[in-house]
Symmetry: C2
Subunit: 134 residues, 2 copies
DNA sequence: TCTGAAACTGCCAGGAG
DNA sequence: CTCCTGGCAGTTTCAGA
């Protein structure tokens, strides 16, 4: 969207509207801008999640796991879960074989004691970010 | 990013670069553009996931559940999970009390038999979309 | 290559603290 | 009185043909 279009929608002239956006960017409220792509069109047919349990809850072990998956491009998200030594990952794979390979790599990774894959059949809702002023 | 900046990065002049982008948009490879915002800055302090099990695997029940959470603004994602009658949700909440209320609403919703909340302690990786040509 | 439009920069005015 | 915020005008750059 152009700035003048945005200004028109919020009922403001263009320059102060642009200044507001700049302020939001510098304040970190707006972290950036992205193009939203179609995964299947780029050859990423499978999206799945993985619940990973580690053998230890030591901070060094947790950090090591996070560093490992940070280097895997197929891992898109890594969330530490309350309750001790568990992570929820979102991964993408080119096909089912690729997905199996990724799961195997996770299972055999250091300090990993348990891997539960959550394969998505269909996604009925997929919105980014948060509600617009709820 | 401006088109000329994009063209410079990919080593192309502006007009053909723009034509390529337009083709990707029309082909559906690029679904749209959006700003990435900081949830905490807008008052959404808590992000959590929920694994929801339903009492039935009947399609009508699944659709009814999807329709229900589609109307909840706090539910940002809803993925049906292979294995039968399970869903993985991503939710945001204003605070812990709000989170508890959302969990309670889920637990007491029609056809819901089980709710396991996955509260995120920290997120070490959070990338949108898919790898850029992996 | 060329034209219209949009992004951006000063400067000024008005209102709230 | 000062600061914040919005509007106006001019310049530069970009989008689109």
């Amino acid at each position: 969207m152009t700035n003048v279009e945005l200004a028109r929608r919020v009922g403001l002239s263009a320059p102060p509207c642009l200044r507001r956006v700049r302020r939001l960017e510098e304040a970190g409220v707006i972290r950036g801008y992205h193009a939203e792509v179609e995964p299947a069109a780029l050859g990423w047919e499978v999206t799945f999640f993985a619940l990973v349990g580690l053998e230890s809850q030591k901070e060094s072990v947790l950090r090591a796991f996070e560093a490992m998956v940070a280097a895997w491009p197929e891992v898109r998200e890594c969330h530490m879960i309350r309750g001790g030594g568990d992570f929820l990952l979102r991964l993408v794979a080119r096909d089912t074989a690729h997905e199996n390979a990724l799961t195997a790599r996770l299972t055999s990774a250091p300090s990993v004691s348990r891997v539960q894959t959550l394969q998505t059949i269909r996604t009925s809702k997929d919105l980014a970010g948060v509600p617009a002023e709820g």
